[in-house]
């Protein structure tokens, strides 16, 4: 998929664990793992809003478009 999720980088820069983020935004660690691995087909605005609030960042910091070669 040409949409890349940079959640790993954001978590590393903020020294936050996946489990803590999942707890903060109210989703399961399994779902967060799907999102991190890029297997997710879609993301709800409410989830994106919660992630941005928890990590204090913009949606563009998390999602990136990279055209497929």
């Amino acid at each position: 998929m040409p949409i890349i999720v940079n959640l790993d980088i954001m978590l590393a820069t903020r020294k936050m664990r996946s489990k803590d983020l999942a707890e903060k935004i109210g989703i399961t660690t399994a779902n967060l793992s799907i999102l991190k691995s890029g297997k997710a087909k879609a993301i709800r605005f409410s989830t994106l809003e919660a992630i941005c609030e928890a990590l204090d960042c913009q949606p563009s910091d998390i999602l990136e478009f990279s055209p497929e070669v």
């Binding site: 989703i27 779902n31 967060l32 799907i34 999102l35 297997k39 997710a40 087909k41 879609a42 993301i43 709800r44 989830t47």
Partner: protein, 166 residues
């Protein structure tokens, strides 16, 4: 799920009652093909009594029996599909494949049941009666199961998409 259990019971009972018929049919096919039985059997096809059992008549009887065997196999497949429904595996690959398989078998069955009968009526009975009988119904059922398989495929994709929306 109560209705599903009732349906599964009916299909299972049908399957149990049809099992001896498989054996009888498998024994009857070589008997019809290789034994001269014109004096012993009183066979009617499409309301027309068969007096002489020649090669085309034998082939007609065999195709009819094969089509009945296919129908019994479809009952078995349907039972297996209902088993998956009971286990809540509605969108399993097995269900999708077997709905399509059932559809194809029913369509094939409708043709191998209908066409030889019509041909036999034309050449032997010398009167053709067009009736909305069992074979068009089978054709419709077959097509329905094929469409159902496609719908299940679409539903599975939608479910996957829904499950992967975070």
């Amino acid at each position: 799920m109560k209705k599903l259990n009732i349906l599964k019971t009916i299909v299972d009972f049908s399957w149990i009652f049809l099992t001896p018929f498989i054996l009888i049919t498998l024994l009857a096919i070589p008997y019809i093909l290789f034994v001269d039985n014109s004096n012993y059997l009183d066979i009617h096809i499409s309301g027309f009594r068969i007096k002489t059992i020649d090669f085309p008549t034998k082939m007609l009887l065999v195709t009819k029996m094969v089509s009945y065997l296919i129908l019994i196999y479809c009952v078995y497949i349907f039972g297996r599909i209902l088993e998956y429904f009971q286990r809540n595996k509605v969108f399993d690959e097995f269900v999708l494949k077997n709905f399509n398989k059932m559809g194809v078998f029913l369509v094939v069955c409708s043709f191998i049941m209908g066409i030889p009968s019509i041909l036999y009526e034309v050449f032997y009975a010398e009167n053709v009666t067009i009736t909305f009988g069992f074979t068009p119904f089978l054709l419709c059922m077959g097509m329905f199961f094929m469409v159902l398989s496609e719908i299940f495929k679409i539903s599975r994709n939608m479910k996957e998409e829904n499950d992967l929306t975070i």
